[in-house]
């Protein structure tokens, strides 16, 4: 086998927040670590995160603690979360955030000089540590600048296309360098997947090109299970106009700072439909909602800050019933507070005026990148006019099934963390819980992968497997099978998923989607990339497509089986939540003949102590 090979104890695939944190931890445990990423270091998706990191630091509201965070996460996830992961996450997130500060992160501050925290949907108290609306950048840069001094070997612009196995065990990975198309083998005792999400399966998404579900598909083919794949989060507020920016995220922070949702009739429709289990925590009127945004501890949150699944569906309803904006969204307005007399309608306008001296400056200071994003891409000044927004594919709650404490999958030596792993979020993720998830479980994955590497010797790489994978990859350059344009296949797949497995689902449409996915699989096999192996995007797309098709099928199969509506999954044919689905997770895995298998996994009984916490917080 004449191919470049690197030896490491632990290989981490992915250099977002989760991968970097895992690599730092594994390296600190004294093992040799290689970190592989598809794009340049520091460009991973994490860099785009805006709103903040959820952690019960209790810097802004002393009533906060891990128990409240845990209960909020479980409520948001509609109780199909892995409760153990939700518990670990809530308990460990504060330490992980403080650790970032010790590594040089500079969060926004409270008046007494501590880390400032902001409100976000579904979080009872102001909980998100943040830096304006560029928190992800701060996080990734801090981890990157800390990580490069820890003796980690970094392999940039290198894409992993398959995991290598020795019997049951994972013993390495095969990849190629984008620059020259050359293959490379990473021989390792443990592999950590931290590859992020799957948003590129949909037409309208806030996600970048990297989100093709690589880690999900790699793990699936290596024998791991994928759990809860039906739960795809549609963020309620993406840009809808102009067409070329459709899907780009408008951070929830806009609503956290007092942005309101209006339909074409000017009605604040979110007040019309407040779910029972959130009624006690939701503002009774506009003034109370705004006071909450300004930090009044006795006020409840405005209905715009209900969970994402709910807000997204309300927006869709308004549009469907003909009350949408000209480009098929609704209005999100912060400019209302800059209008003369905006606060006079309140009973206590002085409270507001004492907190907001200059509304225009207030908006620019709190939401600088949103201000720029609309100014530069939408030609619109958000301090003067409302934005047009609509749902966009944002995040996948489902992912690789792992042990809650160690993050190891059922394949020995294969670990997963971050968005590509599953468990903490249940049926719906709360904003801010991803960045904290990356830190908490990235650290754990690194720790336990290092431990595993220390306890095991290196396995043997099977040259035949490597040969086969390389041959399959190169076939797209020769087009022995046909001349399909991979970009067109990807585009068609995105339309199928958007139209048939989107925010509102029915059995009939999803069955149709499965048929279409089978056809697309055949076309993908025939896809062809003219040119050579050097930095050839057509070829990269051919390779990514295989993963996108695998995760699209997994999402669809799981969504068909869950015949109820819960969290992010809304079934028009089963619009109610059903108790019998409340205690189990969907699982897909690769069957003996290569077909996708489905099964249900019961959720283990929650310990009495955690049940009590949930009851108390109701």
């Amino acid at each position: 086998m004449n191919i470049q090979t690197y030896e490491h104890d632990v290989i981490v695939v992915g250099a977002g927040g989760a991968g970097l944190r895992a690599a730092i931890e594994a390296s600190a445990a004294g093992v040799s670590v290689g970190l592989v990423c598809k794009s340049l270091l520091g460009k991973a998706h994490t860099v785009m995160a805006e709103g903040g990191i959820a952690a019960a630091l209790a810097n802004v509201d002393e009533r906060d603690n891990w128990k409240v965070h845990f209960a909020d996460t479980m409520r948001g996830g509609q109780y199909v979360n892995n409760w153990r992961m939700a518990q670990i996450h809530a308990q460990e997130a504060p330490d992980r955030v403080r650790e970032l500060e010790a590594w040089g992160a500079v969060f926004d501050r409270t008046p007494d000089g501590r880390i400032l925290q902001r409100n976000f949907g579904g979080h009872r108290y102001p909980r998100l540590a943040h830096v304006g609306d560029r928190t992800g950048l701060e996080m990734i840069r801090t981890l990157q600048d800390h990580g490069i001094h820890q003796g980690i070997a970094v392999y940039m612009e290198c894409t992993i296309i398959s995991l290598l196995k020795d019997g049951e065990r994972v013993v390495g990975a095969l990849g190629y360098y984008r620059e020259n198309g050359r293959f490379v083998v990473f021989h390792a005792k443990a592999v950590v997947l931290a590859t992020g999400g799957v948003g590129k399966a949909y037409k309208i998404t806030s996600n970048s090109w990297e989100y093709t579900g690589d880690g999900h598909a790699l793990a699936y083919h290596a024998g791991a299970e994928l759990q809860d794949m039906e739960f795809v989060q549609f963020h309620p507020t993406g840009m809808v106009w102009p067409p070329s920016v459709r899907g780009i995220l408008v951070t929830e922070g806009v609503r956290g700072e007092g942005g309101i949702l209006l339909n074409s009739e000017g009605r604040r429709f979110m007040f019309d439909d407040i779910p029972e289990n959130y009624r006690n925590q939701t503002a009774k009127n506009e003034e109370e909602g705004f006071r909450y945004c300004l930090g009044d501890k006795n006020a409840n949150r405005p209905p715009e800050l209900l969970t994402r699944d709910h807000v997204a569906r309300c927006i869709r309803r308004e549009v469907k019933e003909g009350r949408g904006s000209p480009h098929g969204g609704v209005y999100l307005d912060v400019s209302w507070m800059t209008k003369p007399g905006a606060f006079s309608k309140f009973k206590d306008p002085e409270f507001v005026r004492s907190r907001i001296k200059d509304p225009v400056e207030h908006i620019k200071k709190k939401l600088p990148s949103m201000y720029h994003q609309f100014k530069e891409l939408g030609g619109l000044d958000i301090t003067k006019e409302p934005m047009e927004v609509g749902p966009t594919t944002h995040y996948i709650m489902g992912g690789i099934r792992v042990d809650p404490d160690t993050q190891m999958s059922r394949v020995p030596g294969l670990f997963a963390c971050g968005e590509c792993a599953c468990g903490i979020n249940g049926a719906n993720r709360l904003g801010g819980n991803s960045l904290s998830d990356l830190l908490v479980f990235g650290k754990r994955a690194g720790e336990f992968a290092a431990k595993y590497a220390k306890e095991h010797s290196a396995g043997r790489i099977n040259p035949q497997q490597v040969e086969e994978e390389m041959r399959a990859a190169l076939a797209f350059l020769d087009s022995p099978l046909g001349q399909e344009n991979p970009f067109q296949v990807q585009y068609d797949l995105q339309n199928v998923m958007q139209d048939l497995v989107g925010i509102v689902r029915t059995e009939a449409e999803m069955v149709k989607a499965l048929e279409r996915i089978q056809e697309l699989k055949e076309r993908a096999k025939r896809s062809f990339a003219p040119g050579n192996r050097e930095y050839n995007p057509g070829w990269h797309t051919c390779l990514d497509l295989r993963n996108l098709l695998t995760v699209s099928e997994a999402i669809t199969r799981a969504a068909i089986e869950r015949r109820e509506s819960r969290g992010a999954q809304f079934r028009e044919d089963y619009p109610e939540k059903k108790a019998e689905y409340g205690n189990r997770n969907t699982i897909v895995s690769k069957g003996p003949n290569g077909e996708m298998q489905f099964r249900w996994e019961p959720i283990p009984e929650m310990p009495a102590e955690l049940k009590r916490i949930i009851e108390e917080m109701k």
Partner: protein, 279 residues
């Protein structure tokens, strides 16, 4: 809105040339959309880097009609449509293919900078206290998305090629001999050092590094870097100039640095004389 011609540089290390493509323009479109359209319909092997398409990752840097820009933040309606839109890779860095350049040198410079090392925690729970006004100025520097456009336009790198030398171990050094062997860290890393030097908690002295390894003296304050920064960071006024002053202070009075750092540790505000432009 009709078709526009794009004149895109195609080639690799061994050379290349411009090639014309047509793309259909629609409302609100950015240059990167056009490149994608061309990729999907006419030139599937047209290489370009991008990730976020929202101006957040700094991957899609190129020269559009001769101006260093993020392709994803350059709207088509800001460019004339009656003549070809020229797209070229960044000039300062070696070509990989088409619009993709080898920016790995920047990562090697970054590695030369000693990491953040905080003073002991202020509170028994292991945390620190800093005021918002203390962190405002370094938050400006930390907005950097590493697009390397400032590095690309800085004449010290672009024209005078002060990229230093890389030793056997892959480590960058400021070499001896011809001036090209001398290293200039470039504006990106000047503000990275500034973000550490002005960090209220940091305890490391990086002024010798600035003076010797990163050769801050080679900057003659042309401000070209500041002009192209898509994050509107005041690289020169708020970063490089104050650093130059500190380097000079340290050179004449090595005690200055210690005084300043101790002052910072005690929570004393910085010297008033440092110019501060509002971000």
């Amino acid at each position: 809105m009709g078709k526009v011609t794009f004149r895109i540089w195609r080639g690799d290390k061994s050379g290349g040339d411009f090639k014309d493509y047509q793309a259909e323009i629609s409302e609100g479109m950015v240059v990167l959309d056009a490149v994608h359209q061309i990729q999907a319909t006419q030139a599937p092997d047209l290489a370009c880097r991008w990730n976020c398409k929202a101006g957040k990752c700094g991957s899609c840097s190129a020269e559009v009609n001769g101006k260093p820009r993020l392709m994803c933040m350059t709207r088509m309606d800001t460019l004339p449509h009656d003549q070809p839109v020229m797209i070229q890779p960044m000039k300062a860095f070696p070509i990989i293919r088409d619009l993709v350049t080898d920016v790995s040198w920047n990562y090697r410079v970054n590695k030369l900078i000693p990491p953040f090392k905080p003073r002991p925690p202020d509170a028994p729970d292991g945390t620190w206290r800093m005021g918002q006004e203390e962190v405002d100025r370094i938050q400006e520097f930390r907005k950097c998305i590493e697009c390397f456009l400032c590095q690309n336009v800085c004449h010290v790198l672009r024209e005078h090629h002060r990229f230093g030398q890389t030793d056997e171990k892959g480590q960058l050094t400021s070499g001896q001999g011809p001036s090209e062997a001398e290293l200039f860290g470039g504006p990106r890393f000047m503000i990275r050092v500034a973000s550490l030097e002005m960090h209220p908690l940091d305890t490391v002295n990086r002024l010798p590094l600035l003076q010797k390894e990163l050769n801050i003296g080679l900057c003659n304050i042309t401000k070209c870097c500041t002009e192209v920064c898509p994050e509107h960071i005041h690289i020169t006024d708020n970063g490089i100039i104050p650093l130059k002053e500190r380097v000079v202070d340290e050179f004449y009075d090595p005690l200055m640095w210690a005084v300043r750092k101790v002052g910072e540790a005690l929570g004393v505000r910085r010297r008033k004389s440092l110019p501060m432009v509002n971000p």
